[in-house]
């Protein structure tokens, strides 16, 4: 019986190869978009975490400002600005932060001493804008952004997540609707077969089975396409980021599994609902 259901489903699929592929593509695009959103989010996560830690303004001092001279600089700033909270960032921590984004840095650090790291201090001030005056200090090499970059980044990331998420959901809903309409049309195209099957006592599951097989097979193709598209986007972005010396994003295994599961389950669910609503030619009351 199952072999017959699969065989009938395969027959329908073969006779509608073009439409099936279009449906698979319609499912694959939003799933690929959703998958790539996850990849980007995971890639950006360390930066957001770093910036969250670095909510205070970062001030990079000249490499020769070390030891007692560094302590003297800190004391002087404390005296001049009693409300500032100044903290010296240990060279190991700075190196670790840099290595998160520039992987080759770790290898450099293996060969050279941490002493080459310029001293970094973090200053928490009630009004970060007042720190811009430090740029004129002869011991200061650079002053980091005075606005809360972490918050900005998080907000931008949240917006990107929403836009891509909502777009993916809308496209997925459209693809689900497309699957339902397609099943509806196929059901009417095969109305004579359904009637005969019912008249000869075919179980309801076997009547609906071939249509579910069709959408499940289409879903598998869509899952493969979605996974492939996500990988292509990831490889492309890796190339761009590699030029900048940044770490490459990766596609987690569970994104691929989720894409396949959604690609198969969504059309099956919509097809099952359509069949339940419209394929009930059983008894006229």
């Amino acid at each position: 019986m199952i072999r017959q259901i699969v065989s009938e489903g395969w027959g329908i699929l073969r006779s509608r190869a073009g439409v099936s592929f279009a449906l698979a593509l319609a499912l694959a695009v939003p799933l690929a978009l959703g998958g790539f959103t996850v990849v980007v989010e995971r890639w950006l996560a360390p930066l957001v975490a770093t910036e969250a830690e670095a909510a205070p303004v970062q001030v990079l001092l000249r490499p020769d400002v070390t030891g007692q001279r560094l302590q003297h600089w800190v004391d002087a700033q404390n005296a001049a600005h009693p409300k500032w909270q100044i903290q010296v960032v240990p060279p190991e921590k700075l190196a670790s932060r840099l290595a998160r984004w520039f992987p080759y840095f770790e290898r450099i650090m293996d060969r050279r001493s941490l002493e080459i790291m310029p001293p970094l201090v973090e200053i928490l001030a009630p009004s970060p804008a007042t720190l811009s005056g430090l740029k004129n200090d002869p011991d200061v090499l650079a002053v980091g952004p005075r606005s809360n970059l972490g918050a900005l980044l998080r907000s931008a990331l949240t917006r990107v997540r929403w836009v891509l998420g909502v777009t993916s959901l809308l496209l997925l809903a459209a693809a689900g609707l497309l699957a339902a309409v397609w099943v509806h049309l196929e059901m009417y195209r095969h109305a004579d077969e359904i009637t005969v099957m019912r008249l000869v006592g075919t179980a309801e599951g076997a009547v609906r089975g071939p249509f579910l097989v069709v959408v499940a097979l289409t879903g598998l193709v869509a899952g493969g396409l979605a996974s492939g598209l996500t990988r292509l986007l990831t490889i492309w972005s890796s190339g761009v980021l590699g030029v900048l010396g940044l770490r490459s994003p990766t596609v987690p295994w569970w994104v691929t599994v989720a894409q396949f599961a959604a690609a198969v389950l969504l059309p099956i669910a919509t097809a099952a609902i359509t069949l339940a609503r419209h394929a009930t030619f059983g008894i006229e009351e």
Binding site: V196, T202, A203, I283
Partner: protein
């Protein structure tokens, strides 16, 4: 085999059947006749549960059909074969596939389904047309394929709704002879027809429907 008790059926306040009570025993050959639109097809639909009666009891093959739950419907329909005037053959499938298609959904393995389909076609003299598609067959051949499909899973009851409606007199006689043969081999046969010539060709029990009730029950002609 078939029992109807005080069966009423109405569509939009139009009473088609009014208190029909009738019984058909196993192995009987019965004609159901009456003018067009009198409710012959409705009578048959009640038996294969395509419709439910407005009131009354319908029993077929020891199953109460009027209250049969939907999931029990396939069990009922597997005990009967239904033959239609318009044959209801699948145009995209060959003659053999039209029969194996049904047998496969009845759970038979592919080889057994093919073997049984071939034997049924042979019984009806259609084995040489097994690869042909329905559109390439004559009306008589198409009706024989429909009968082969109904017989393939060896039902105890055959319901035929105007089976000779699309056939000429010669083919109609041939078909009736086939149905008699099926009945002779043990199946109960109920044929709905308005063709009087057909009724007179075979002396069999005849139910005459008039104004929604059984007006005559006996051998035809009276």
């Amino acid at each position: 085999m078939i029992r109807l008790r005080e069966v009423h059926k109405s569509f939009d306040h139009r009473n088609v059947l009014r208190g029909v009570t009738v019984a058909v025993d196993p192995g009987e050959f019965v004609f159901l006749t009456g003018p067009s639109g009198v409710g012959k097809s409705t009578f048959l639909k009640l038996l294969y549960a395509a419709e439910r009666p407005t009131s009354g009891e319908v029993w077929v093959n020891d199953m109460r059909v009027d209250t049969l739950p939907l999931h029990e419907l396939p069990h009922l329909r597997r005990t009967m074969g239904v033959i239609f005037q318009d044959f209801k053959l699948l145009k995209r499938k060959s003659v053999l596939e039209n029969i194996t298609f049904v047998l496969r959904f009845h759970g038979l393995p592919p080889r057994e389904a093919q073997r049984r389909a071939y034997l049924t076609l042979k019984r009806l003299g259609l084995q040489h047309r097994q690869s042909a598609f329905p559109d390439a067959l004559s009306g008589g051949e198409q009706q024989r394929v429909a009968i082969a499909r109904a017989l393939a899973y060896q039902p105890r009851l055959i319901l035929a709704d105007e089976p000779t409606g699309n056939l000429d007199a010669e083919l109609a006689a041939e078909l009736m002879s086939l149905l008699c043969d099926i009945n002779y081999q043990g199946a109960t046969v109920l044929v709905a027809t308005h063709d009087h010539a057909l009724l007179e060709s075979i002396p069999a029990r005849t139910l005459v429907l008039q104004r929604g009730a059984i007006a005559y029950d006996g051998i035809w002609p009276p």
